[in-house]
């Protein structure tokens, strides 16, 4: 059993409750001990870094400092939180003056030793894909999964530490390990417009519409994501985008831990699959998974 500092992020306690629930279930099975950082504060998400550089570093710094003190790898299931945490770590490493200011405003010292990893990497690299395979109860045969990575878990490469920035494979490898068929498609790292979800919604509709169109054209049964912002655009806005483009995508969007949970034998309600706007039940029934 290994311990990881867990930074759930704001979305996971509201709009993406099901992601949190599925993640905790799966991690318990995998014997990964998620230690939630006590009194964590929001990472600043899409707004802090466009308002003040110091805010953007000081907000994640509190969690980084806690993880460093307790000598744990810090992880977040949310791509935006992960990116902000890692970005703050990198910026403080590069800029001693910024680090000094952050230490002044937070009143704590940071030695720059925290290791920040996205949850996908904790599971698939630190824990290992072979060990995950041992825990599976069934194979997701015949399910065509389009893995959608989006922006913040892939870019910039110094944050994601991914050598294949334009064509990441980590979630596709997971899909294959679960017995499903990963779909080759062109839009896996395109932007869904997350930061503009509430402000410039017409941009979100256009960008997300293109992603959904490509996933559908490449024959995907469902889209697998690892970010609550991507999810809310692809899932909750899908009905209005379908209407706008005069089609019916009917493409369920699931978090990767929910898909893992299905292969580990959890059922529909355990994984809170009922929370999605596009109900995956008919698809999963047709494939004989639930």
């Amino acid at each position: 059993m290994f311990k990881v500092a867990y930074f759930p992020g704001c979305s996971l306690s509201s709009t993406a409750k099901e992601y949190d629930v599925a993640t905790r279930l799966v991690c318990e099975d995998l014997e990964i001990d998620l230690v939630e950082i006590p009194e964590w504060i929001c990472c600043g998400a899409t707004t802090a870094h466009i308002t003040s550089e110091l805010t953007a570093s000081a907000l994640p710094a509190k969690s980084l400092i806690w993880a460093e003190k307790h000598n744990m790898t810090i992880t977040s299931p949310c791509s935006a939180c992960f990116s902000r945490l890692k970005m703050a770590h990198i910026n403080m490493e590069k800029d001693a003056e910024l680090k000094k200011e952050v230490e002044e405003v937070t009143g704590e010292k940071y030695n720059g030793k925290a290791e920040v990893l996205h949850l996908t990497r904790v599971m698939l690299e630190k824990y290992g894909i072979e060990k995950i395979k041992e825990k599976l109860k069934k194979q997701l045969k015949g399910l065509k999964i389009a893995s959608y990575y989006g922006c913040l878990m892939t870019r910039p490469p110094e944050v994601s530490e991914n050598d294949r920035v334009e064509n990441p494979m980590i979630m596709d490898n997971l899909a294959r390990a679960l017995g499903a068929e990963p779909v080759k498609w062109a839009y896996k790292t395109e932007c869904c417009g997350a930061a503009f979800s509430l402000t410039k919604t017409e941009i979100v509709r256009k960008l997300t519409g293109e992603i959904l169109k490509d996933a559908k054209a490449c024959g995907a049964d469902l889209v697998m994501v690892a970010c609550p912002l991507c999810h809310s655009n692809l899932d909750a806005r899908q009905p209005e985008i379908s209407k706008l483009l005069k089609t019916n995508f009917n493409l369920p969007v699931l978090y990767f831990t929910q898909v893992m949970g299905l292969a580990m034998g959890y059922d529909y309600m355990d994984l809170m699959l009922n929370k999605h706007f596009i109900d995956p039940k008919p698809l999963l029934k047709a494939k004989g998974i639930i």
Binding site: E104, K200, K275
Partner: protein
């Protein structure tokens, strides 16, 4: 529009300010256009990213800062990833927004700054995001009170995806510390941005 390129026309101060605050060397840009080609929102921008880089080099702050360019940047980091001159273009866009919001230039967008202000206030006061309060406040202040309420908002509430109760930091000491931190940050930011004037 004609812009006469003469050495005496180039306002170096603007470029230097952007370079100081973003820590990026804008003069490295050689106009290959890769950033504009990959930018998912370039179609909506008055000047695409590569043009913005050139305008900073030439000190055209009046035209660039009154355009929508930086406000339409969605921070997807595609430009930063692909730039052959290793300029963090997304960070430059952030810097332009920071400079405008600090009162140095006109804020040429009426959606994003309101949203940011509400978002950061929510973090300052509760430590976390209070979604329903934030969306409500944003809709009111942007004079569009029923945006996304029907059917998406209603469905979200029915599915229990949005809660009416804010998630707070429970320790009052931490809460005060959080508010104090924001105060200190604001003071430091003012010092940093107004170090030199254009």
């Amino acid at each position: 529009m004609k812009y006469e390129l003469q050495l005496k026309n180039i306002k170096e101060g603007f470029r230097k300010d952007v370079e100081r605050l973003s820590k990026q060397k804008i003069s490295n840009c050689y106009q290959c256009g890769k950033c504009s080609a990959g930018c998912p929102v370039a179609y909506a921008m008055e000047y695409p990213p590569s043009m913005a880089m050139r305008m900073i080099q030439l000190g055209m702050h009046d035209r660039l800062m009154s355009a929508n360019t930086s406000w339409f940047c969605v921070s997807c980091e595609t430009c930063t990833t692909r730039c052959p001159r290793e300029i963090d273009i997304a960070k430059v866009m952030d810097t332009l927004k920071i400079m405008a919001q600090a009162g140095k230039y006109k804020v040429s967008d009426n959606e994003v700054p309101i949203f940011d202000w509400i978002f950061l206030k929510s973090i300052e006061l509760t430590g976390k995001i209070y979604e329903i309060g934030m969306i409500g406040a944003y809709n009111m202040l942007s004079l569009n009170p029923f945006k996304d309420v029907f059917p998406m908002g209603v469905k979200m509430i029915l599915k229990g995806k949005i809660s009416f109760i804010p998630h707070l930091i429970y320790n009052p000491l931490e809460m005060i510390k959080n508010i104090m931190m924001f105060r200190k940050i604001r003071k430091k930011d003012r010092e940093r941005i107004y170090e030199k004037n254009v």
